[in-house]
């Protein structure tokens, strides 16, 4: 518990700053996943699906 600068009643500026900070952290949560290397099985599955389309093409309508 710190004594400093406790934002007692919410003033507009403080509220805006808080919202901005939440926004930054929200993007950080998302970006942490988005910036992970894509697991190999994703691209492997996509290639397999593409190969299957080349062979049979049962899924795609003309």
């Amino acid at each position: 518990m710190t004594e400093k600068n406790r934002p007692g009643p919410r003033n507009d500026k403080g509220a805006k700053q808080r919202q901005d900070r939440i926004g930054d952290r929200l993007r950080q949560l998302y970006d942490e996943v988005a910036n992970e290397p894509v697991p190999d099985d994703f691209l492997k599955l996509l290639e397999e699906a593409d190969d299957a389309a080349d062979d049979g093409d049962e899924d795609q309508k003309p």
């Binding site: 518990m1 710190t2 952290r25 929200l26 998302y30 996943v33 699906a49």
Partner: protein
């Protein structure tokens, strides 16, 4: 081949969206493994549905719609009712070299988890996914004004949750939302320096 973009171009663009599919799925599911299952299913479904994609439209929004429909139609929403595992959550965040930043993220994740589904997805898509309100309205099948309202309520709710709740994940269970925000404010200047970014 008709007027659709060819398969090769479609596949390349879809592959480029995989990180976003994973991130959106993670925000819906909470659990990383289940989220990747969902993201893979969505990717494959998008591939199969490629003939219905309209070239020139936002493929990210289109693919997110597929992912979201999968999530809700298969009742995977129950997945996120599982309590978050603090150790898992911690482990996913240790890469962050800022301990108090890690705590803030855990607190925020916890707060987001308490939101109603409709508010959570609107907040994630607009606030983190980089989508326009119009795209999010399409994804969620509702009016733009509804999305704006949900985002607004979600922001307010998250702020209140962070203010009122103890942060259950942390080793210091007494830490309050306001303390987190004191830390947050302390870091504003640090984070705004370009060198510290990334």
């Amino acid at each position: 081949m008709s007027d659709a973009i060819d398969d090769k171009a479609f596949k390349a663009e879809l592959a480029s969206l995989i990180p976003h599919l994973r991130a959106f799925a993670r925000s819906l599911c909470g659990d990383a493994t289940l989220a990747d299952d969902l993201a893979q299913d969505a990717m494959l479904k998008a591939w199969k549905a490629r003939a219905s994609y309209k070239p020139g439209t936002n493929m990210k929004a289109w693919a997110f719609t597929i992912l979201r429909n999968l999530f809700y139609s298969e009742k995977r929403r129950s997945w996120r009712r599982q309590p978050l595992d603090p150790e898992v959550a911690e482990a996913t965040l240790v890469a962050n070299d800022n301990p108090s930043g890690t705590m803030e993220l855990l607190a925020l994740r916890n707060a987001i988890n308490e939101l109603p589904d409709d508010q959570r997805e609107a907040l994630i898509l607009v606030g983190a996914g980089g989508l326009a309100y119009e795209d999010v309205a399409d994804i969620c099948g509702c009016a733009v004004g509804t999305i704006k309202s949900r985002v607004s309520r979600a922001r307010k709710a998250v702020t209140e949750i962070l203010d009122s709740n103890e942060i259950g994940f942390s080793s210091d269970g007494s830490l309050q939302g306001e303390d987190v925000f004191d830390d947050l404010m302390d870091q504003v200047s640090a984070l705004s320096k370009p060198a510290k970014a990334v």
